[in-house]
Amino acid sequence: MAINLDITEAPTRETRLGSITGYSGTLKDLVARTGCGASIKNGDRTFSQASSCSSGCAQTLLAGIVDAAVVNHAPIGCAGDTVYHNIANQYGRFYREWGNKNIQLVNTNMEEQDTVFGGTEKLREGIREAFRRFAPKAIFVTTSCASGIIGDDIKGVISELTDEVPVPVIQVSCEGFRSKVWASGFDAAFHAILTGIVKPPVRKRPELVNMVNFRGSARAYIARLFGELGLVPRFVVPFATVEELATVSEAAVTATVCTTLGSYFGTALEENYGVPYVKAIPPHGVAGIEAWLRGIGAAVGKESEVEALIDKERAATDADLAELRRRFKGKRAVLGMGPSYAQSYLGVLEELGIEVLHAASWHYDPRYDYGEQPPAIVRAASRENDITFSVGDQQLYEITNTLSRLKPDLYFSRHPGSSVWAAKLGITAVPVIDEYTAFGHRGLVNFGWRIVDALTNRNFVTKLADRVKLPYSGWWYGQDPYAFLDQEAV
């Protein structure tokens, strides 16, 4: 079903894609159950730990737009994540040599009386203040559980202020309780950008690639790769300007480092403006980068240039890769990441010669908006050996139990607040914080050497694990890790 840009809110991933947060079984089983014509029912939990919500994912993108402002219509706690967003903002600005500046966000500080009489007056003040303080080119209004439940008329307030605030003011529907899949917040942000910022193309830019990512640490690397193909990357959304976002429709192609992040935006640009979206597996590791570059090459008619580039990159990294595989012989790992990374890192670790015992995915999209299963999981499931696979919204009690049973040499994770628990168990934990970790041939090799370092000196983790206790009862370690997951028989 095509993405509908005529409505205010992007439907949640559960509604649109049948996405799930509860499953325990195997990789091949999951792929079979979510293949063409099949459907899977989400498994509910009778015990759970703090997850994350859509609003955090929406704000992390929108607060990064350099000349926009965010009005977070919520009690003050909903802006708790803005501290981290500002750290990421300062970090990104520093590496771009842009100078020191804080994110442009105000919280409307909803209080008890607002939940009784409505919070629209606060919202009006928030929009006015954001406009006065930052002179932004656009204002995004992010909603919250409180504003959603009391039913504040966001649209009404925005339309009243049209004359007074002469820039686009756009509603971003990201109430936490609406979706268990925090990535629904990415879609909420992209939906707002697509409906309120993106303009039809005035001209076509055959060299321009929309590069959908988070912080963009690999800008130089990507500029070099694309340069050899005669292409120029434009990194979105964080650190882009409103004008750059307005003209994404003029690009030759859209690519992404994370298909969980970029698929909604890429698909919408393809459907509405004919900008092809590269539907390849994510660009991590050899198979990833090669499929991804070929996808870009095919979209812009640069197939032979891509092959020449691939040969060059391979030649530069083959020897290192062989050495890394030798060192990792016999090493076993568990991984826990968002779906795009969980899927692509199955390939990455295979290329490094590390055996994956179990993979946990923080949610799972049975298909993307363009109608197909995620290609990376289809590829991973085509291997001969099956592995156990679970889906959970970062449920650490399940992960901890699984790790204490499997006792892997390594735990690879993504998302703050997950890898430290493996370290407390004495397992070498390698967090994949930067989205470009293991990106491309050279990134794969760098990642491999980072793992070598982590395995070379285990003093910190072993000594830590000897002295700390995790917060679980002895009883829990004797139970099946998915004992509280209520699902159809696997």
Partner: protein, 438 residues
């Protein structure tokens, strides 16, 4: 009606969950939407001195992760199920249900859920901390109301010398652990037995001891006044309210003398402890005097942007001990109207007859505008949060992050309280100045 807030300096009432995390072997159970725990932990702990998850923080906190189902049909059953399974899975001695906006707006009867577990012998208490009710200072006091009403038991006879220490907010103050440890050391130095509830120590066991104290010490401008008053009503425990966080010789001496009087400790004992500490302290202060009087590297007027604990405590030290001149101080938490005169009075009575203007409010934009319209003749010293570093640079000032969010420093056991803390603060301030050009 409070205005909008740019650059948060605290979180909502549900932030009290971090006060539970600070009590060893106490386990919070969040009954709220899926993002509350992550956002509050991220703001108060991870982005604030990188304080970590600890025993049961971050994503390990049990949570109902409420969805549309619980919002439309009520969340009591989901909560009951989550608490029942928490008691099986998690290893703790006290379980505190904290509610968020979803539950408080739809009106779940959380009290009934908690009572049903308590009646079967499980140590489960509840507190309704919907984010719209107030900030986390307010939430922290609500938590204590709940602990007093639902958990603490009368102790019979008071234990002589035992003092409960109530002061800075765990996690909100990135220096809380070191600060409580230091204050406890000061109390020990005059022969008292401090009962420190938060941080490394006895955790829930010290909480249970609260009703046995000889008196409660509230070291805070206003936060916790309600708590010690309730403890007095319920257990008959008297309290000493000392409003200023003691930093440096002047205030720490006054503090120890006040505590000595309350505790009935002979003044010779207190004076001896002060003499001993001051001798050591002034050995280092004397060493610092050469830098302070014989170099060009000095700050101009100072500004603090912090909660009332630190705005007041730092200002007293900087004026009364370090001899600096105040420009304006910003108090960032929501101070209830009735306590403002008390704080205003403190800001109007420094040594040498000095006073400092004080400004109330959490909005960073107001701080920025207020500072932009002032004239600084020398490079100002700006003790605030990491947000304020941007403003400090614009003003060509010297920034030092002391208040939430402190995202540019790792904080472990550091404190600015007492004698040792004042030396640390002096080192930190002048290190910022000296490293600014080399």
């Amino acid at each position: 009606m409070a205005g909008v807030i740019e650059q948060i300096r605290n979180v909502c009432a549900l932030g009290a969950l971090q006060s539970v995390v600070a009590i060893e072997r106490a386990i919070p159970i969040i009954h709220a939407g899926p993002g509350c725990g992550q956002k509050l932990w991220s703001g108060l702990s991870n982005g604030n001195g990188f304080q970590g998850a600890g025993y049961v923080g971050g994503h390990s906190v049990p949570c109902t992760n409420a969805t549309e189902q619980e919002v439309v049909f009520g969340g009591e059953e989901k909560l009951r199920e989550t608490v029942a399974n928490t008691l099986k899975v998690m290893d703790g001695d006290l379980f505190v249900i904290l509610t968020g906006c979803t539950s408080d707006i739809v009106g779940d009867d959380v009290g009934e859920v908690a009572r049903s577990f308590r009646s079967s012998g499980a140590p489960v208490v509840y507190v309704e901390t919907g984010g719209f009710k107030g900030d986390n200072y307010f939430g922290h006091e609500l938590l204590w109301d709940a602990l007093i009403d639902q958990f603490l038991e009368p102790a019979g006879k008071a234990e002589p010398g035992l003092v409960n220490l109530f002061s800075v907010l765990p996690y909100q103050d990135p220096y809380w652990t070191g600060t409580l440890h230091t204050i406890a050391g000061l109390l020990r130095s005059i022969g008292l037995i401090p009962n420190v509830i938060y941080g490394p120590g006895e955790g829930v066991a010290s909480l249970r001891k609260v009703p046995k104290a000889q008196f409660n010490l509230l070291l805070s401008p206003w936060v916790g006044l309600k708590t010690v008053q309730r403890l007095e009503e319920k257990f008959g425990t008297p309290y000493l309210h000392y409003p200023t966080l003691p930093i440096g010789a002047t205030e720490t001496g006054k503090f120890l003398r006040a505590v000595g009087v309350q505790a009935g400790i002979p003044s010779e004992t207190v004076e001896e402890a002060i003499r001993r500490e001051e001798a050591r302290y002034y050995y280092y202060v004397e060493r610092s005097a050469d830098l302070l009087f014989e170099t060009r590297f000095l700050p101009g007027h100072f500004v603090t942007v912090a909660d009332s604990f630190y705005a007041l405590g730092l200002t007293k030290f900087l004026i009364n001990d370090l001899g600096l001149i105040p420009e304006v101080q910003f108090v960032t938490e929501a101070v209830p109207e009735q306590y403002r005169p008390l704080i205003d009075a403190e800001f109007a009575r420094f040594d040498e007859g000095l006073v400092s203007p004080v400004h109330y409010g959490a909005d960073g934009g107001t701080v920025r505008d207020e500072l932009a319209r002032r004239t600084f003749r020398e490079r100002p010293l700006i003790l605030g949060s990491s947000w304020d570093r941007v403003t400090a640079r614009k003003l060509n000032g010297y920034p030092l992050s002391v208040a939430m969010p402190v995202s540019d420093r790792l904080v472990l056991s550091r404190t600015y309280a007492g004698y040792e803390g004042a030396l640390r603060l002096t080192e930190d301030i002048y290190s910022v100045i000296l490293s600014s050009f080399q």
